[in-house]
Each structure stands twice: as C-alpha cells, then as structure tokens.
Subunit: 299 residues, 2 copies
C-alpha cells in the first residue's frame, strides 16, 4: 500500500567552473540562480566555495583575504538574490569568524533573503593539493539540520560526505534531505581506472547515505581544471558529476564530468515516507551496542 501524500520540490543545482575574479564568479552564479528560479526551482544549491578558485591547493596566508564575516558582504549578496528570486539558496563561503579563526561554512538563505541557518564543515580534509586543515577550523555547531519554508535541510560539506555518522545524525534530527556542496577532483596524473574508482566511490557513498536514512541527497561539485599556483602538483581536475538521488539511492539526475551545467530536478519528499515504511532501518538500530562509535579506535 502506497502512502499517497505528495510533497514535491523543484531543486536547482549549479555546477560551475570558477575564475580568480570573485565578481565574475558571483555574477555568473546570480545569472544561473535567476534562470533556475524562472524554470521553477524553489531550492538552489551551489558548490563549495563557489566565489573563488579552490585556494586550498597551497598554504598561503594571503588567501585569508578571501574570507568574509557572517553577516557581511557575502550574505548581503546572496540574501538579496534569494529575496529577489523567491528561492531558498544553499551557498558556501570561507567564513572569517575572528582574526585567525576561519571556517568552511554553508549558509542557507530563506526566500525572504534572511539567513535560515549556517553549518560549519565538521570534517576537514588534508592531503596534497587539499590543504584544508591550514585554512579551516573544524566546525563547532555540530550536525544540526536547518529549517526552511521548503523543508528541513541536512546541509553538510564535501569531506563530510565520507562519514555515515554525519548523515545519520542529520537524519535523526529530522532532515528531509541531505545536501553536500563539494569541491572534489582528480589528480590529472592518476590513471583512468583510478579516476573512475574515485568518482564512483564518491557517488556510491552519498547514495548510501540516502539509502541508510531513507531521504534524498543533493550533491553539487565544481568542474574544470585549476592549476596549482605553487607548481608543485599537476593541479586539480574537478570532476563535476553533481547529482540528485532519491531515498533508495536511485539517481534522479546527474551532471556531466567536464562541463558547466545548471539544471532543475523534481524531488518527491513524500516518497521517503513510503521507503521508510518498507525499509524501516531507523526502527532496528542497536543503540544499546553503538557506544564505541565515540572512540577513536576500539583497540
């Protein structure tokens, strides 16, 4: 027996390449938001750190100039666009919280342009070409979904996507949907089969968060090549492949891996009710036996 309530939202995703010029990036983001809103999108998700190049390829103190306070110039810009287009926007910024204290922060704007909430990236990566631990203090707001007029959004950021714990905690607090602004790409020197495995793993684990929690996932990545300013590595080929999956992990829409792409996709949030009735994973969690999850390792 199907549960027939229907709650459909139109989600827009913006998969862009970016330049060194912040004003150009913002202007292109705004153009895309306007177009997607005209096409009916009520929720629009941008990729991670979408106002700049991915500056974490090197450790350079001058890059702290790219950070903005919240509220500030960044929130004024995207808040205005949310209001003018009557859309909820999930945006991403380099947050300057205090001198010497910075975060990788997602900001959710309500349709009236107000800030519905922020999420500070909790899991911070650090590997060659992705020196994020240099720039970003790990988030201190926990895994708290953000209430909006179109649903409760479980906003996480990039590296968080590898952690089922984060997705679970969002779902357990009522997230209707998981959202991952992302900046992930290939080392151009890697072999083609290694590249395929990496992208496939990235898609697979996020689809699994949808499955284990019975809610949809939106993941938006940047695209295109960005060189390493230090010349030490071969730079990064951001692999795009932004996608939306339904509550069984089924792919609803998927962008290409090597070009910019904006698109709108309908998500039926009430399908989660049916999926969770048939696959009631939340019912059977062995919370009496999960205590060791707060350990670093069990031996």
């Amino acid at each position: 027996m199907e549960h027939n309530e229907s709650h459909i939202i139109s989600a827009g995703i913006i998969q862009h390449y970016f330049s060194q010029d912040i004003e150009t990036n913002r202007s292109r983001n705004e153009q895309s938001i306007v177009t997607l809103a005209e096409e009916g999108a009520k929720l629009i998700v941008l990729s991670e750190l979408h106002d700049s190049l991915y500056f974490c390829q090197t450790e350079n103190v001058d890059n702290f100039d790219l950070a903005f306070p919240i509220p500030g110039d960044f929130t004024a810009f995207y808040g205005r666009i949310a209001r003018e287009n009557d859309v909820v926007i999930v945006a991403s910024t380099f947050e300057k919280r205090a001198r010497g204290l910075y975060h990788n922060t997602a900001v959710v704007f309500e349709r009236d342009g107000s800030i519905a909430g922020i999420y500070r990236k909790m899991h911070i990566p650090d590997d060659p070409g992705f020196y994020e631990k240099f720039y970003f203090t790990p988030g201190d707001l926990g895994f708290e979904p953000i209430e909006t007029s179109i649903g409760t959004l479980g906003v996480l950021v990039c590296w968080d996507q590898w952690y089922p714990e984060a997705a679970r905690l969002m779902a357990m607090k009522g997230a209707d949907i998981l959202i991952y602004p992302t900046a992930i790409g290939w080392n151009p020197d890697d072999a083609i089969d290694e590249k395929r495995r990496q992208r496939d793993a990235w898609v697979t684990i996020q689809r699994a968060h949808a499955i284990s929690n019975g809610i949809p996932v939106i993941s938006v990545n940047r695209v295109g090549y960005e060189e390493d300013p230090s010349g030490q590595t071969s730079g990064i080929d951001f692999w795009g492949s932004s996608f939306i999956a339904g509550p069984q992990g089924e792919i609803l829409t998927e962008c290409p891996d090597s070009e910019a792409d904006d698109r709108v996709c309908e998500i039926n949030l009430s399908r989660s009710e049916n999926v969770r009735r048939w696959w009631p994973f939340l019912r059977d969690r062995r919370i009496d036996a999960y205590g060791d999850l707060i350990l670093r390792y069990r031996r």
Copy 2:
C-alpha cells in the same frame, strides 16, 4: 607512492538455491567447498541459513525444529569440512541457545576445524515474508570481528548490511574484511524498476561500507524462488548477485541474479593500507560530536 606489501587471499563464494531437504543442501554445500578449495580458495563464505529453505516466510513454531545448538551437529559437519579442505569457512545457522532462545548466528571455522568464533545477528528485520523477529533473539555479542589464520573477519549478517554503524564498529576493532551472509529477494509482484532499485540499493550500501572503512566486502546471497507455505504472499525471488568489492568499493567479482554460482576471487588485503593512506577517513572522525548516535532519535 604505493605501499608495496602484498597480502593476497583467495576467497570463495557459494551462491546456491536450497531445498526442503537439509541433507541435500549440506551435501551440495560440501561439494562446492571441496571444489572451491581445489581451485585455491583459503576463505569460503556461504549465504545465510544455507542448510534450509528461508523458513521465516511464515511464523510457525514447528520451524524451531530446524535450530541446532553450538557446538553440535551443525558445527561438527562444517568443522570437518574445514579441516579436510584446509580452509576457513564462514557458515550460518539457526542457533538453539536454550529452550525458547534462538539466534541467527554466523560461525567461523578455522582451517583445523575448530570454531574461530561466532557472531549473532544484531539487527533483526521483520516485514511481510521476513518474520525474523519471531524466530531470532537479537544478538548479544556486539560487533566483534573474529580472528583467523587468514585475517580478522568482520562477520555480519544480512539486515546488518543496512547499518553503517555495524560496519564501522567492526572496522574500528581491526576487521580486515567485512562479510555478509545474506538471504534477500524480491516480492515477485513488484515492478521491474522497483526490483532494480532494491537490488541496486543493496549493492550500493555494502560497497559504501567498504569505501567509508577502506576494507573489502564479501556479500553472499542465496538465489532462486521459494514459495510462501502459507500462500498469503507470492513468495520470494532471492536475487543472488553475490559480490566482492575492494576497499574503494570497486566491484571485484559479481554473481548472476538468477542462477547458482560458485567462484573464487583474489583479494589483495594490503590495498587497504594504500587506500587508507590516501583517504584517511579514520583520521578525521568527529568523535567529540557523535554522542547522539546512541539515541533512538534526536527530537
């Protein structure tokens, strides 16, 4: 830089259909184990409850006759086969622990035929056609991997496969590999696209456990149609599709969905070292913020 230590094990998987006759099922299982051992398998994994039909399609007290104590007739039979063929075997049984106290239990046999350890299924499903809560008391041994001569095995069972918590806890205690004996299938009345989504979700979430933990996964399912003795449902089409995935979730081998299949596949356990060096997810877990995972829900 690759880490060049190499630790390859040959794993054999046995995807069978079963009949009402236990002796026939056991005899066919033994034949397959002998053949796979001859082909070089050092670890052999059977599917869930492989000595009988999937009796949980109805709630019938007479089915408790199918249970065996540990140690007992079941462990004597498979222990002998392990010893005679010099292989580690992951077997699955309906355990009679006491009068009125039964478990769905995996038993790991060492190459000398001794019992290396047991795992009692922790997450117990219950939905039409899968009335497991009637038969199986939830496991009380927790998520403890089993040490063997060929590696530390994170043995879980079927419904556990939907829970990233279970996989994580096994990995955190040193599991080299995750193993899921399974009995999962389709309602024959479901539409083809629903069937596809279900099987795809089942593969995807287990691949994701490999990815998030950087270790391989072996999942072995039964295959073929079994009717519902009560005639209330259309029975179950067990979908086979047993597979082995590497530590990036990459599929190493995959069985068909509608026929019996025994096969051997090499797994390079030392690839986990490389994968975890490049994707050090264990390094960055936010254990300070995971406390709520032991709650039923967060609101």
